[in-house]
């Protein structure tokens, strides 16, 4: 699958495709009505066919639907197919019951009935009519089954595309929000809050690199951790910063795997830790903890990885801005001092 974008360097085993941030972890496809109008509208509100209508799958669906008796094919829906199926089986039942009743009545209560029914031509004719009708019903049912399958496939694709659109929109919104912030502490809080919101997480922390240490600068859910320092390579976050690899934690962490890991309560059953890398430099680590009863998956990790990239850039920019601001303030101070000396 050659066109897939290369995954970010610091997440070597991740995404095979463009990663995106996402909102709710699971949105079942049933939430998307397929009854929605698939026709587009032109500038003045007139209906115009979309490109989608010309793809072979849709043409196939259109053909199958027409043959299956779904006239006025405009808004394919599983409900319409189900209605048509019910009509078909109702018609079948009624027809067969009527034929059976007719034969029974003819044979039982009319004097000529048995004579008529004993004629081979009549019997064969009745059987042929029933056989043809059954063949018709079976053929229609098979068409309806195919339409159901095609509609389900289309629904899966639409749901998948809608999910992707939703994720991209969320990422865009978050990116806009982050890029507009230059105040570092406000930005750090926003990054952590956005990450928790994106993943429906119940807490987490944001650590930035200072020398060979990581300093916890923003916390949600465990306020006593604010200001805590660990060395690079120590604990989970230190390991992530050193290796530049995200980690998905499931269950209890083995302290032997992460030397220097602090014993803390309450234990987190599911968490993620991601390096924030900008211009090939680790600026910090983002840690997110799942709510009770929820477990993060690799899908979540992939989703938040793109968000981490954006956040790292925003943090690096905000730090640069702060450094420049301090530099300018220092220059102004020096200018004032030299002016005072000269005066």
């Amino acid at each position: 699958m050659g066109s897939n974008p290369t995954p970010p360097a610091h997440i070597p085993f991740l995404s095979h495709t463009a990663s995106v941030a996402r909102g709710s972890p699971s949105r079942p496809i049933e939430t998307f009505g397929f009854g929605a109008d698939i026709q587009g509208r032109g500038e003045e509100g007139e209906r115009v066919p979309r490109q989608k209508d010309r793809v072979p799958e849709t043409e196939g669906l259109r053909h199958e639907s027409r043959v299956a008796g779904l006239r006025e094919f405009r808004t394919p829906s599983l409900e319409a197919v189900e209605r048509r199926r019910m009509q078909l089986w109702f018609l079948t039942t009624v027809t067969l019951v009527l034929v059976a009743t007719g034969v029974l009545v003819l044979a039982t209560w009319t004097s000529m009935g048995s004579v008529v029914l004993s004629a081979p031509a009549i019997r064969l004719g009745a059987l042929a009519i029933v056989g043809i009708f059954c063949a018709y019903v079976v053929e229609k049912e098979m068409r309806l089954w195919r339409v159901t399958r095609m509609l389900t496939d289309e629904r899966v694709l639409i749901a998948s595309l809608t999910n992707r659109l939703h994720e991209v929109s969320l990422l865009l919104e978050t990116g806009r929000a982050l890029s507009g912030l230059l105040d570092l502490s406000e930005l750090l809080d926003t990054v952590l809050r956005s990450a928790c919101d994106l993943l429906d997480a119940n807490g987490g922390s944001l650590m930035v690199v200072e020398g060979d240490e990581l300093v916890t600068v923003s916390v949600r859910g465990r306020e006593e951790a604010l200001g805590a320092r660990i060395r690079l390579g120590e604990g989970v976050a230190g390991h992530v910063a050193l290796r530049r690899e995200p980690i998905l934690i499931e269950g209890h962490v083995d302290p032997r795997e992460f030397p220097g890991l602090a014993d803390r309560q309450p234990y987190v059953e599911s968490a993620m830790s991601l390096p924030l890398v900008h211009a090939d430099e680790v600026v910090g680590v983002l840690n997110v903890n799942a709510a009770a009863g929820r477990a993060f998956t690799e899908y979540d990790l992939r989703a938040v990885a793109v968000f981490a990239e954006q956040s790292a850039s925003a943090i690096a920019n905000a730090r640069l801005f702060e450094a420049e601001r301090r530099h300018v303030a220092r220059l102004i101070e020096l200018q004032h001092a030299s002016a005072a000396e000269a005066g």
């Binding site: 995954p7 495709t17 972890p25 699971s26 899966v156 992707r164």
Partner: protein, 147 residues
């Protein structure tokens, strides 16, 4: 027992819409009959309802992930052959997939021909559900590599 002959039905479980479309086109061109699922829940319901001959299962899925789908099918004793697709190529994951009854493991990003080989192998595997003869005399060169 009546025997029907049809194209092998393959369920593609993948959350990426681009990959879903690409796999559908390639599997159809290879003479298979693809059906789609975008998440684990839909995958399980379509496996139960439509009895595919093979499943191409992505591990990273929203909600119920691929491993959970595999575990559920394994617990149910469902004999459908499954080709697991994962971005990870470590031995642990491969072993885990094998233990859970997967018949193949393809590492992403994959070459479409390798995936098709794995799918055909899965369809031919003895663990496949019996009762239906499949059209397996298919020219693999029909595969269209769109990516």
């Amino acid at each position: 027992m009546s025997v029907t002959i049809r194209r092998p039905r393959v369920l593609v479980v993948e959350d990426d819409p681009d990959l879903l479309v690409v796999l559908r086109v390639n599997l159809t061109a290879a003479g298979l009959d693809p059906i789609l699922a975008g998440d684990g829940r839909t995958a399980i319901s379509r496996i139960q309802a439509e009895r595919p001959d093979a499943v191409v299962l992505d591990v990273m899925l929203p909600g119920i992930d691929g491993w959970s789908v595999l575990e559920d099918l394994h617990a149910m004793g469902d004999p459908v052959p499954i080709v697991v697709c994962s971005a990870k190529k470590n031995a642990e994951d491969m072993e885990r997939a094998r233990d859970l009854g997967a018949s193949g493991y393809v590492v992403k990003p994959f070459d479409i021909d390798r995936l098709l080989d794995a799918v055909f192998e899965a369809v031919r595997s003895p663990s496949r559900r019996p009762g239906v003869d499949l059209e397996l005399d298919i020219d693999l060169e029909l595969g269209v590599d769109l990516v």
